[in-house]
């Protein structure tokens, strides 16, 4: 079989798997968040938490719960790292240094999983499974529940109540994430991923050298790392490490996992607003852009441009033999489109335009299909913008899902759209202006170095977590700056989304008339794709020009 045919079949299988999961899983999640009943475990949990599961919250209280829970998460994870040497299973590693501990805590709580540290020599097993992996579950859950709150904003009317954060959180962990993680862990171990509590194991190789083979509860963390669009590797090489991702089958399974919740949430959305076609339209826009970027990245990597890649004969630097160009590019597009940030190949060594494609994909704001929950609410905000733009063209008061888009809603949407680019571009500008920050660049003397810095802030601000990993980011400046970028990039947009949800929920739905713009048809999907590409494209174009475009053209 030719490389191209095999590669296309690989993409086809992925799409087929997602299509098979779409209805049952999306519908299941809709039932989880609509159900009035608590099961026995949940009842006990609510009693322990001191929460009344029947008490719905206003958007402001819901938002306060999100912030309180996340703040506790940051502090706990910080302390766990700072005292790891005094705790069991540290593997003899010292306490994590302050700046790195803050950065990592901010990173995992904000669902970014940017890693400025080298896991093998920084994090003991306890921090990994009782700290980082816990945030892999709950930060993913926080993203999902905020999206659910926004859906309720559309589906409810004349109320100031959006649901109960604690109930939504516990249900997400117990009914959605944990069951899949349990089954998925065993699937991964069956494929060859390790799951033990050993430390380094010294062996003498057949050629007579010594080699230290690492251990760890990897599969149980790998599964939630992908499923929760987190992306923080148990090992430094992330999903390129043979113990995290041993073969092409585990590879396609991991890509499926990191896409499945964001994709199926569009179904959940369709079911909950009682118009499944609206879900298809949102998915259509996400899928169109994802496909576009997948084929661009694959094309550029197969072209293998660049002096070093040409000399080698192919762009295989930073790629694993078992994956090659196709499976690497497919992973890269899916990870940068979902805010996951796991990598099965090193993006820094990608061709200028292939790496640029991954960078630009993140800049779209992680909506294709985006992180768990954050992808859906991001795309819904853009859908509101698209409706507004269309409304301006025909001179009508715009409405989406029978809710009017007034000045208040547009203010929130505008702030949402401006937040992340402001964080990314201001952060990059400051870093490029500081000599100490410029010193962290690996590929100096050309536009590629600028791309490393731009990629770092884009990754942090959009909560992706992948890197042009050549940059030495474990410094005081980057630990602090990127830590702040991740927290602001996560929680400011979330607050705006919840405010938007609150303001939609209060409205009385307007009747659908002849003049209402249908938001489930191809015309609207096209408009939405246009808005996504143009709004972000124009924002970042000058920066992209200075980096990947200058290098690749």
């Amino acid at each position: 079989m030719s490389d191209t045919a095999a590669g296309l079949l690989q993409v086809g299988l992925l799409v087929l798997l997602l299509a098979a999961a779409y209805r049952p899983f999306g519908g299941y999640m809709a039932r989880v968040y609509s159900s009035e009943k608590d099961n026995r475990v949940e009842k006990v949990t609510y009693k322990l938490l001191g929460v009344d599961s029947k008490a719905d919250q206003t958007w402001a209280v819901y938002a306060r719960s999100v912030l309180a829970f996340s703040a506790v998460g940051v502090i706990l994870l910080y302390l766990l790292q700072r005292f790891q040497a005094q705790l069991p299973l540290s593997l003899g590693l010292p306490n994590v240094e302050q700046g790195s501990a803050f950065n990592t805590a901010a990173s995992f709580v904000s669902n970014t999983n940017w890693q400025g540290y080298v896991p093998e020599v920084t994090m003991g097993h306890l921090v990994q499974f009782a700290g980082l992996a816990v945030q892999n579950f709950v930060s993913a859950a926080v993203g999902i529940v905020v999206a659910i709150a926004l859906i309720r904003g559309f589906s409810r009317s004349k109320t100031d109540r959006l649901g109960n954060f604690w109930v939504d959180l516990i249900r997400t962990v117990l009914r959605v994430l944990l069951p899949i993680a349990v089954v998925g862990t065993l699937v991964l171990v069956a494929m060859g991923v390790v799951q033990n509590f050993s430390g380094m194991h010294e062996v003498t190789t057949v050629a007579g050298q010594t080699q230290n083979i690492p251990g760890g509860p990897v599969a149980s963390q790998e599964i939630i790392k992908e499923l929760g669009t987190n992306g923080g590797g148990f090992y430094n090489a992330n999903s390129a490490h043979p113990f995290e991702n041993p073969n092409p089958l585990s590879d396609i399974f991991e890509i499926f996992l990191l896409l499945v919740i964001p994709v199926c949430l569009t179904r959940t959305f369709g079911v909950m607003v009682k118009d499944k076609k609206q879900g298809y339209a949102i998915l259509g826009a996400m899928g169109t852009i994802w496909a576009l970027f997948t084929f661009s990245a694959t094309f550029f990597e197969n072209q293998g441009a660049g002096t070093a890649a040409r000399a080698a004969g192919a762009a295989m630097e930073g790629k694993e033999t078992r994956f090659g160009e196709w499976a690497s590019a497919l992973f890269a597009t899916s990870t940068t489109g979902t805010s996951t940030g796991a990598v099965n190949s090193m993006h820094d060594s990608y061709t200028a335009l292939g790496g640029g494609t991954a960078l630009f994909h993140m800049m779209l704001g992680e909506v294709t299909p985006g992180g768990t929950g954050s992808g859906l609410y991001g795309m819904l905000v853009l859908a509101v913008l698209a409706v507004f733009v269309a409304g301006l063209m025909v001179g009508r008061t715009p409405e989406y899902l029978r809710k009017k888009i007034t000045a208040r809603e547009m203010k929130l949407v505008s702030l949402y759209i401006l937040t992340t680019p402001a964080i990314v571009l201001i952060g990059t500008a400051i870093a490029m202006g500081l000599e100490t920050a410029r010193a962290s660049i690996l590929n100096t003397g050309g536009p590629h170095g600028f791309s490393e810095v731009l990629y770092a802030f884009t990754s942090a601000g959009n909560n992706n977590g992948s890197a042009f990993a050549g940059i030495s980011a474990n410094t005081l400046f980057y630990n602090t700056a990127l830590g702040l970028a991740m927290l602001l990039g996560r929680f400011v947009p979330m607050m705006l989304v919840l405010a938007l949800a609150g303001s939609f929920a209060k409205q009385q739905p307007v009747p659908v008339t002849q003049g209402t713009l249908p938001t489930h048809k191809a015309l609207f999907v096209t408009m939405l794709v246009g808005v996504v590409l143009i709004v972000t494209g124009l924002t970042y174009f000058p920066a992209i020009t200075l980096g990947p475009l200058a290098e690749g053209l």
């Binding site: 095999a6 322990l48 938490l49 001191g50 009344d52 008490a55 206003t58 309180a68 829970f69 506790v72 998460g73 020599v121 700290g131 992996a133 816990v134 604690w166 516990i170 962990v173 993680a181 349990v182 069956a190 033990n196 380094m200 194991h201 062996v203 003498t204 190789t205 057949v206 050629a207 050298q209 690492p214 149980s220 963390q221 043979p242 041993p246 073969n247 092409p248 089958l249 441009a305 070093a308 000399a311 762009a315 295989m316 630097e317 930073g318 790629k319 694993e320 033999t321 078992r322 994956f323 090659g324 196709w326 090193m346 820094d348 060594s349 061709t351 200028a352 790496g355 003397g445 050549g470």
Partner: protein, 210 residues
């Protein structure tokens, strides 16, 4: 009721309790149970697919190893300079010299001058070792993998090494070819990933042959 009226402090208290409950559940019970079940059901995989030589662990089927020997010379930092040991099938270059305690790629960009120099140097070395023209050296032989621990090479690179291995080890070319074939995997299901040869298991089998 309570949870709606609570102020910021009250929410923090619930947050602390929630973090504790969830940490016990998904941070302690979940990994412990999963490890226990994995150890019973898939013991070999869960422990790293290790293989033994003379009864002792000698590596993992999944983690690449270096097949080099000491040249006796030292570099500027006083580290021993290693060269390819012609008795073994060679793996890809590694940014971490196959140190499984610190996986990493080189992260050098596609137009990086250092990388270009490295690639050209490696190409020359491989061509000399295999006594072939530089144009015959495949890309995976001169590029470092993402993990630095890639156990695989392309079938093309393996084929390039067959004659040398047969010569060095006094084996017939057919014998070595057969061994390579035994350690070659096609695309999974015919279309997933890339065809590849596992050098770790190949060299292990080679050692057993002599």
């Amino acid at each position: 009721m309570a949870s709606t009226r609570r102020g910021a402090l009250g929410q923090l208290a619930v947050g602390v309790r929630a973090m504790i409950v969830l940490t016990v559940l998904v941070g302690v019970l979940y990994p412990l149970v999963m490890t226990g079940v994995s150890q019973v059901l898939f013991n070999d995989n869960a422990n790293g697919s290790m293989f033994q030589v003379d009864g002792k662990d000698a590596g993992s089927d999944l983690i690449g190893q270096a097949y080099t020997r000491d040249t006796g010379q030292k570099d500027a930092d006083g580290n021993a300079i290693m060269e390819a040991d012609p008795k073994w099938f060679q793996t890809r270059p590694s940014a971490v010299d196959y140190d499984a305690g610190a996986s990493s790629g080189s992260n050098l960009g596609p137009n990086n001058a250092d990388l270009l120099a490295l690639v050209e140097e490696r190409k020359k070395a491989v061509a000399a070792l295999e006594q072939v023209d530089e144009s015959q050296v495949p890309a995976d032989a001169v590029t470092a993998s993402a993990s630095g621990l890639d156990p695989h090479i392309s079938p093309e690179y393996a084929a390039l090494q067959v004659n040398r291995i047969a010569r060095e080890r006094n084996l017939s070319v057919d014998q070595v070819k057969q061994l390579v074939e035994d350690n070659t995997q096609g695309r999974t299901l015919g279309f997933l990933g890339e065809p590849r040869v596992n050098v770790v298991t190949l060299n292990r089998d080679l050692a057993e042959l002599n």
